[in-house]
């Protein structure tokens, strides 16, 4: 397995690069962007499991993000729970919401599924906005604290320092990536991809559609829940406006930009789009126009996203056998 070795080496290089990044780059603003992009990596990885690997197009991801953020914020600010408990509960609750959306989605395909997930985002947005006694409505929740420092003897990690918070979000992103890598290279991954390719054929081969589709919905939402919690405790303020359909679309764009249905694509997509949007700020109001044009160019010239583009180039170079990598490099 020549290519497998190379991908694993590439993963290792990227990982080491990410770990060293805050040591080399001391600029707080760039670190801030890096933290946000790791949070988005969690979001895109979760959505990619659903959209890229299982073929269930969903625009509901921002709602799970919001559920994670709100659960974590309410638990810590209103009820005084510890951050570590809160992130755990946020993940579970968000995963449960994923199951709730998954059940009706089992019956729906294509545009109908997309519409029901859009409905879900709107419902959750209204809930955040109007359940005043719990979510404080449009005012949002303020004063969400950084996670408490971890102390090991005289040593302690203070998460209010951006470097350290970056390591916290990186830890979750890497954990998520390892989990996805294991899933995709297992029998479960094969089943998910079979459902994406042809669900009727998959069912005929004895793949339990209900179980695997729900698994994808639940896991995707769980990832978003963790991301939501990390987001809330970093930004320290959340309001319903952060979790709208526009945010869902933004996450989906990142997935497509990086390459749907590949493991590395969403990671690259999330980092690239987050940094791109920040670096285009000097263009002021023309920023989004340039961003839009770039997106169109990607779709036209690299329909498989950045990752698809790279893989095409690589496989063209070792053109020996037509054994295209399917489960993503």
């Amino acid at each position: 397995m020549f290519t497998k070795k190379i991908t694993l080496i590439l993963y290792a290089i990227l990982f080491v690069g990410a770990v060293l990044f805050p040591q080399i780059e001391k600029d707080d603003y760039i670190l801030h962007t890096a933290i946000l992009s790791t949070i988005f990596v969690l979001l895109t990885m979760g959505l990619n499991l659903l959209v890229g690997f299982t073929g269930q197009l969903s625009l509901g991801h921002a709602a799970f993000f919001g559920v994670g953020a709100y659960v974590s914020a309410i638990l810590t600010v209103t009820y005084g729970f510890n951050f570590w408990t809160a992130i755990f509960v946020a993940a579970i609750v968000s995963g449960a919401f994923g199951l709730c959306l998954g059940f009706p989605a089992l019956k729906l395909k294509g545009p109908y599924l997309v519409m029901s997930t859009i409905g879900f985002v709107h419902i959750m947005h209204e809930l955040f906005l109007n359940w005043y006694s719990v979510t404080r409505g449009a005012m949002g929740i303020v004063g969400i604290k950084f996670p408490p420092p971890i102390r090991l003897g005289s040593w302690s990690i203070d998460f209010s320092i951006p470097q350290n918070y970056f390591y916290l979000t990186l830890f979750w992103a890497v954990l998520g990536f390892i989990f996805l890598y294991t899933v995709i290279h297992s029998k479960i991954g094969r089943a998910l991809m079979a459902i994406r390719e042809n669900d009727i054929a998959a069912e005929c081969l004895g793949i339990n559609l209900t179980r695997y589709k729900l698994f994808a919905f639940c896991t995707g939402a769980l990832f978003a829940g963790i991301a939501g919690s990390l987001y809330a405790h970093y930004i320290s303020y959340i309001s319903p406006d952060s979790f709208t359909l526009a945010e869902s679309i933004n996450i989906l764009v990142m997935v497509i930009f990086g390459g749907m249905g590949t493991l590395m694509g969403p990671v690259i997509g999330a980092v690239a789009v987050t940094f791109l949007l920040e670096n285009l700020r000097f263009l002021q109001e023309y920023r989004l126009i340039i961003y839009g044009i770039l997106l169109m160019l990607i779709i036209i010239f690299a329909p498989g996203g950045l990752m698809g583009f790279i893989m095409k180039y690589v496989s063209a170079r070792n053109s020996s056998k037509a054994d295209l990598p399917q489960e993503g490099a």
């Binding site: 029998k187 094969r190 089943a191 991809m193 079979a194 390719e197 042809n198 009727i200 054929a201 998959a202 069912e203 005929c204 081969l205 004895g206 793949i207 339990n208 056998k321 037509a322 054994d323 295209l324 399917q326």
Partner: protein
Amino acid sequence: MLKVENINVYYERIHALKNLSLEVKQGEIVTILGANGAGKTTTLNSIIGVTRAKSGKISFQGIDITTADPSKIVEMGLAISPEGRKIFPKMTVYENLEMGAYVLNSPQRIHDNIMRAFNYFPVLRERSGQISSTLSGGEQQMLAIARALMANPKLLLLDEPSLGLAPLLVKDIFRIVKEINKDGVTVMLVEQNAKQALQIAHRGYVIETGRVFLEGSREELINDKRIIDAYLGGK
């Protein structure tokens, strides 16, 4: 081996199968003939559990599978090569075959089954690393049958394997189906190509508008005037 008793299937308000009964015995090739929309595919789909019968009973080796989950049914030894092939287009031939063995757990048996599939269909061995959407129609059909065989079925359901294929290829595929049957797999063959199907089948059913219109042995069907007129092109 397989017994379908008085099943009724509805699509919304359309009554697709009306009190349909049929039986497949161990070792047979049974063909189901009929025109478009007669209910052939619906019959297969109800057996495998993708569509549900509203009433009636389906049993496989004495066990009631009327309401069983498709995944359970496949594990019991029923496999289907669905209509229109339905291969996984972006996977390689080899990966498609691996998917067919989804209910098996032993890597050794999966490997053995893949080798067996390659023996039946040597062209798949040559194409094993190829993305399956790039196969020709006939090769895709072979892949669909080979994939269904991967689960070690006792009863193999084939839904229109001749669909859209050149006559020469149809002959080839039917010859292999006969070979598979000789090796101990019972076959239920749904076909529109009555001429070819009756050449390899032991018995047959003719379905018309959701009902069994006629049943009999191969000889009976081949010599039946109504069959000759309606399905064998008259004489």
